[in-house]
């Protein structure tokens, strides 16, 4: 575990002392438990609009812009704020493949992104809505009569994994090991374990790519094998980069979002009652829950000296893109901590799926999964609450998550 030690916490000279945040923001957010997002939102009052953290978990120090306007500007300026080398997985193995298209910048990014946009368009998602509904319904039916469920184990981890396997054209029986790998990758604080999971995932994906090459099939890897960029077939590293990205992008993010959304409803029976009485509000409720419980924290690397809101950033600096801070900016959202399903769908847009060229390619699928999960839960399960013996554990990191969620109902 390469945790940052005192002597590595050198703050660059160009960072003004008054902009340095003295506490570990992720530890602070984690300690707030079920109030994690409300805790993060108070940073807007307590800390400068752009502040500096000497470390982020086991990651090095970074600038943390809080204002939605600044985050939008940074995400749009892909020349100054690069996505290259922002993810640790290949480096853990001493290798150089990139997550594609996540770790590419335009104009390269545009070509690689174009290959997969059509696979995850709103129309494509609509085409598999029946299957999404079936998987969600089957999972809920399995525990609805128990009057109790371990939410992550029995639902949130399973649901997106089953959809992912279907989209990839891989057997459902693979679900348990995918869930296990995802858990290790996201939750383990033991670097050896994480590296072990990265190796296993990589080997699995490379095997699938080789199988698909030997026996061409009409699935995701088959599609990529038949694709070209600039007239060239994709290399093994590129194929791996795409597959690894959809693996980490599609599994943990939806599972974690489900956890926060359902935790909110368990703590707010009045919101459950509202949606049970007005199911047509569910799509807007999903947007509001995505805003209020944003989970993704990305990074960008500064390529040339730049000033944002009077703050001087230098080439090589790292910038954290914290969607939960952008989405609780009080200049954009009135009473940002308030979950209000009546904000309306034509109001200020949130950045849960980011802004600009790197907008989450799976956003349409994620929204549909979240919407269907809510619809079916509210149909099949009566008013539910956190179990008395349940002690949810908040985990702030690159992707926020809530563990140990146990729900009960009468």
């Amino acid at each position: 575990m390469s945790s940052a030690t005192e002597d590595t916490l050198t703050i660059p000279e160009h960072v003004p002392r008054e902009l340095v945040c003295e506490f570990d923001i992720w530890a602070e957010i984690s300690a707030a438990g079920v109030c994690a997002h409300q805790r993060a939102a108070r940073f807007h009052d307590e800390l400068p609009p752009i502040f500096y953290v000497p470390k982020l978990g086991y990651l090095p120090g970074a600038w943390v812009p809080q204002k939605a306007e600044d985050l939008r500007r940074i995400l749009r300026d892909t020349q100054t704020f690069s996505s290259q080398n922002t993810m640790p997985f290949a480096a853990m193995l001493g290798e150089h493949w990139k997550l594609i298209p996540l770790e590419l910048d335009p104009p390269e990014h545009t070509k690689y992104r174009a290959l997969i946009n059509g696979l995850l368009s709103p129309n494509k998602v609509t085409a598999i809505e029946g299957a999404i509904r079936q998987h969600a319904g089957d999972l809920i039916d399995a525990f609805a009569a128990n009057k109790r469920c371990n939410f992550n184990q029995e639902f949130a981890d399973q649901f997106p994994t089953l959809i992912f396997l279907r989209l990839m054209g891989w057997p459902e029986t693979e679900a348990p090991r995918f869930v296990k790998w995802t858990h290790t990758l996201v939750k383990s604080q033991d670097m050896e374990e994480v590296v072990g999971a990265v190796v296993q995932i990589k080997n699995y994906l490379m095997q699938k790519i080789h199988d698909s090459r030997a026996n061409p099939v009409d699935d995701f890897t088959g599609y990529l094998l038949n694709s070209e960029v600039d007239g060239q077939s994709l290399t093994d590293d590129e194929l791996l980069g795409y597959c690894f990205l959809v693996f980490i992008g599609g599994l943990d993010t939806v599972a974690s979002s489900l956890g926060f959304h359902f935790m909110h409803l368990a703590l707010h029976p009045e919101h459950q009652a509202d949606l049970r009485a007005n199911p047509d509000k569910i799509p807007i409720a999903v947007e509001e829950l995505l805003r209020a419980y944003s989970i993704v924290n990305m990074r960008r690397i500064v390529t040339c000296d730049v000033e944002i809101r009077g703050v001087q950033m230098k080439a090589g600096d790292i910038v954290l893109i914290s969607t939960e801070l952008g989405n609780t900016d009080p200049e954009v959202f009135e009473d940002p901590c308030e979950v209000n399903f009546d904000r309306g769908d034509g109001n200020a847009p949130h950045m849960a799926f980011s802004f600009g060229a790197h907008r989450c390619v799976g956003s349409h699928l994620a929204r549909r999964e979240l919407r269907i999960a809510l619809e079916l839960w509210l149909q099949k399960v009566p008013i539910f609450r956190l179990a008395e013996d349940c002690n949810p554990v908040m985990r702030a990191a690159g992707v926020f998550g809530m563990d140990e969620l146990i729900f009960e109902w009468d």
Partner: protein, 68 residues
Amino acid sequence: MKVVIDRNACAGHARCHELAPELFVLDDDGYIATDGFSVTAEAEELALRSARACPEQAIAIVSDDSNI
């Protein structure tokens, strides 16, 4: 009233299409497929809401008597 779309700014969120699928038509990749259009009086409110919902601020509303 006219809707003018900056297609280069479209990032494929498809929020406009979600609110008004008949007005905001998407291409096969899920990105906006039009540079703009005129809006009937009945659809003005919907077009305004859709413009506000665009995370990229790529949708502008121009009034018919505007010469800009």
